[in-house]
């Protein structure tokens, strides 16, 4: 089958959806796994953004890695794809806002996206790169919200 007819048969969009699902899902699982064993570090990384109040930022820091891992698992297996993609995409949107706000306020922090975090040298900041990456991941989420049907998903297996 040619590319065009595959597209018309819905197979190519299904494969694109699969790639979007795996990309967003795997990144979320890796990011969560790298942080989940050191909750105090994760809490400090959130506090370094100086957006949320001290205690609440701590709770977000503790909970975020767990949420990332669970949403990532749902995406990788393709279960409740639309909902989990929406949550994953909104997380990315929140990260973009947070990083953009830190950048705009002249903070020099590590986003702590994959562990670590806190203030770093001005020359070491990677705000542009981080935002670009998260925007790409948000786009994966957006695709799946618009078109949640993907190849090899549990959604398809279980619920037809």
């Amino acid at each position: 089958m040619g590319l065009r007819s595959q597209w018309e048969a819905g197979r190519l969009p299904d494969v694109i959806g699969l790639l979007a699902r795996l990309t967003l899902g795997v990144v979320l699982i890796v990011a969560g796994a790298l942080k989940v064993t050191s909750p105090a570090v994760s809490a400090r990384a959130i506090r370094a953004f100086q957006i949320l109040p001290y205690d609440f930022a701590g709770y977000v820091g503790y909970a975020l890695p767990v949420v990332e891992i669970l949403v990532g698992l749902l995406l990788v297996t393709g279960l409740f794809t639309r909902l989990s993609a929406a949550v994953g995409g909104l997380l990315m949107l929140a990260f973009i806002i947070g990083i953009g706000s830190a950048w705009a306020r002249g903070l020099t922090i590590d986003c702590g996206c994959f562990g670590g975090g806190g203030t770093i040298g001005a020359a070491q900041t990677q705000y542009g790169r981080d935002i670009l990456r998260d925007a790409g991941l948000a786009a994966c989420g957006a695709w799946l919200v618009v078109r949640p049907r993907t190849a090899y998903s549990l959604d398809h297996r279980l619920f037809g």
């Binding site: 105090a40 570090v41 809490a43 400090r44 001290y54 701590g58 767990v66 922090i109 203030t119 279980l158």
Partner: protein
């Protein structure tokens, strides 16, 4: 009797898959439980810290977790306050100490600054050891013996080449000797260190610094203003202090 068709009907009906509502509810429950457990574990890991006492070391400024005043004599009345936030395991703190420690010590001795040192311990979480907390407790015990700056200098002078190797108990004791703690004060220091007498002070210092927006080390504040990024040389520090002296 009419033939029973119910079996046939059942077989012909579309196969009933698992109920999405039930699966969704189970997953939602897993998410909620996971989040709650993570928050509980995280909150506990924060509050527990090292076991030990809640005594305040000598020289603590302004009550709880205010940092330790390193001056051996009262500073001049117009002397600005220099707040120094550092973690004993932070390599850049070691570099700062090498470059500016002597100037800071000299200015504090001359009473030209009120040198307030906040010994942070967040790197323990990053490096997965407890050396920052133990060293911070040990230096607080040295403050009790009136040897804060001496002990402080000894720790930084012996920073491991590789960040994360930390300090052994034998090293901490050797620092006490280097700092000139001997005789009865050494016995007191040893008791204070091994029992973690200032453990609560150490964790309080860390959270107080975080609440004050200090999330990295070293951070240097002159009269409350963060001047860390302007400190290229010891001369720059001395000049900044001069300018802040009224």
């Amino acid at each position: 009797m009419r033939p029973d068709a119910s079996k046939k009907l059942k077989a012909a009906a579309p196969k009933q898959g698992p109920n999405p509502v039930i699966i969704g509810a189970v997953i939602a429950a897993v998410v909620i439980v996971g989040v709650v457990v993570a928050i509980v574990i995280g909150s506990n890991s924060k509050s527990s810290g090292a076991p030990g006492g809640s005594a305040q070391p000598k020289g603590v400024v302004a009550g709880d977790a205010g940092g330790i005043l390193a001056n051996s004599a009262p500073a001049k009345s117009n002397a600005p306050t220099l707040d120094l936030y550092e973690d004993f395991q932070c390599p850049i703190c070691g570099e700062l100490e090498k470059a500016m420690g002597p100037s800071m010590a000299a200015m504090s001795k001359a009473g030209e600054i009120k040198l307030v040192v906040h010994t942070l311990s967040f790197l323990d979480d990053n490096l997965k050891n407890d050396s920052s907390k133990r060293a911070a407790n040990a230096v607080a015990c040295a403050a009790d013996a009136g040897k804060f700056l001496e002990y402080h200098a000894a720790v930084f002078a012996a920073q491991p080449a590789r960040e994360g190797d930390g300090f052994t108990d034998a090293q901490l004791t050797a620092f006490a000797n280097t700092a000139g703690i001997t005789g009865a004060p050494l016995t007191t220091w040893q008791k204070c260190t091994s029992s973690g007498q200032h453990a609560k002070y150490v964790t309080d210092t860390q959270s107080a610094a975080e609440k004050a927006g200090v999330n990295s080390t070293p951070t240097v504040k002159l009269n409350g203003q963060d001047i860390t990024k302007t400190l290229s040389t010891a001369d720059a520090l001395v000049a900044a202090v001069k300018a802040a002296t009224k």
